[in-house]
Symmetry: C2
Subunit: 343 residues, 2 copies
Amino acid sequence: MSRPTLADVARLAGVAISTASVVLNNKGRVSPATRAQVQAAAQALGYQPNAVARRLASRRTNIVAVVVPSLANPFFATIVHELQGRLLDAGLDIIMYDTEDDVQLEAKHTESLLRNRVDGVVFIGQHTGMEHPNDQILRELPEQGVKLVLVERELSESPIPQIYADKEEGARSAVRHLVSLGHRRIAMVGGFLSMGGSFLRRRGYETALQEAKIPVDSDLIVDGGFTPLGGYQVTRELLLRRPGITALFVANDLMSIGVLKALQESGKRVPEDVSVIGFDNIPESRFLNPSLSTVDVPTRRLGQAAAEVLLSSLEDKTTNSRTIVFPVELIIRDSTGPCNVNI
Amino acid sequence: MSRPTLADVARLAGVAISTASVVLNNKGRVSPATRAQVQAAAQALGYQPNAVARRLASRRTNIVAVVVPSLANPFFATIVHELQGRLLDAGLDIIMYDTEDDVQLEAKHTESLLRNRVDGVVFIGQHTGMEHPNDQILRELPEQGVKLVLVERELSESPIPQIYADKEEGARSAVRHLVSLGHRRIAMVGGFLSMGGSFLRRRGYETALQEAKIPVDSDLIVDGGFTPLGGYQVTRELLLRRPGITALFVANDLMSIGVLKALQESGKRVPEDVSVIGFDNIPESRFLNPSLSTVDVPTRRLGQAAAEVLLSSLEDKTTNSRTIVFPVELIIRDSTGPCNVNI
């Protein structure tokens, strides 16, 4: 019989792998009953965490895993496309997990990373500004000898390398651009706000307003779910509810397409009546009508950097604790202009 | 020592795996010298193709591979997203290969499928209307005990299951719609034409013209490389060269965004002066200005069907030889209208 793994202990104890991990590594809180159950299971199986970690670390499978929120979202698909090119060139095979923007599915896949023998993991996520239920599993991976790189996902007080674009500064510069044009009634179309989605962009939006002494009005912050349809629907609703807004900061370009349509249908000219600025700079943005002002996010470079950091971690066999923040760039096109409304 | 594989024979003979396969299966043409070299290598190693196939067929790894032309293309990313959800639910792990629209890279990845122990492969491609250099490797996979499903890729005279959308009929109905509105000078913006890309759509375009007794003018068929920028550039060039065109059939919606921009910059109104119809029905199409007439392709259903056919092949252990062709649907919005030019 092969040596017992953390997954074996969890199975015998009837708990999640993350719970078994919390108990056996003495981190986080679980009930005394659960703790006793896990410890009994570990003893019964003769589980030796350090030995397992050493064994896994010493054996290379040449397989790495990529965890991604949604391949149907071009932002993430582009990161994965770049990442994958580099990893395949390096002779690695890639196991892909698409978590479909679902926390439960992410937990399931992340746990399976502990069971599967992979050399490394690139974990792509969303900054949410809150502790995430799956953070504990992520912290566990390096202790099991798996090299981990986080992309667009934070993990507080961790030496795990983290790579992301400076979305907060991007949002701040987009909204400062609107303020500099004289706008004061500036709405934000975010995405997945209740789960912490577009958290950094929201913070940048609020910071820019505060810097301009404009009160933050949470009634002007709406959720378009990151799709063109969502952007269209919430903008129609917003225009009925708050007809006086003169500018919109939209958390991605895909939603901006629906926002422009809603404005056009309401008889609002862009930018003469309402200015719109997006986020991401997807290839279609410069061809929209009017061409879309936006914030350029270097998605390809995020993917390349993630591959490079993972490959160097795999070579060094040391933990690489770099955090790389890529700057973003304000792109001014035809959808933003001076505020023509006297306030 | 483990039993020799086809890859071992190829390595010893100093030829590609596909070449070794051609010789040992007596299919296709190779030079007599190469044939002798491969046969000598097979004999030296004691290679037994049937034994290997049996051994591979009997052992399950619960790993399947997905080969995809480009995850940066939303059309393929959506297919993969759906496919993957189903396969992960079935407890399979997925190894992903992105061939970056490159024949050489596709060959490299396809050969590695023969070396890696996977239970099955979903191979996503492009119909090209020509024999493909990697077809021989694809024919080899089932003989090695690997279950194979082809999506959007043809393989002539093969029992391998093939799943695709009826792009030819979609193109034909799109162009018939333009003809019914009185248009006769109808251009086509295709993609990767020299490599056979958008082959079926081109055939549908030509069929519809012939049915209407409109001569096919190859000067009106241009290549926009499937990107918004490409669509923009070739349309500008086309309008200078052939200012009399009154309608454009565009092989994907992404290019249509650039086509609309080029028309707008040239002072052409859509649809009053020029009609435009796209292909794919991506989520942003209905929010373009004007909203885009297009052909709806059921990408999600393609991905779901591929997963179902692969899973049933894996269960049956029989070769499933179904070909499934999904119908597509003409979606008429605001970018197509009557021809207002007297010809």
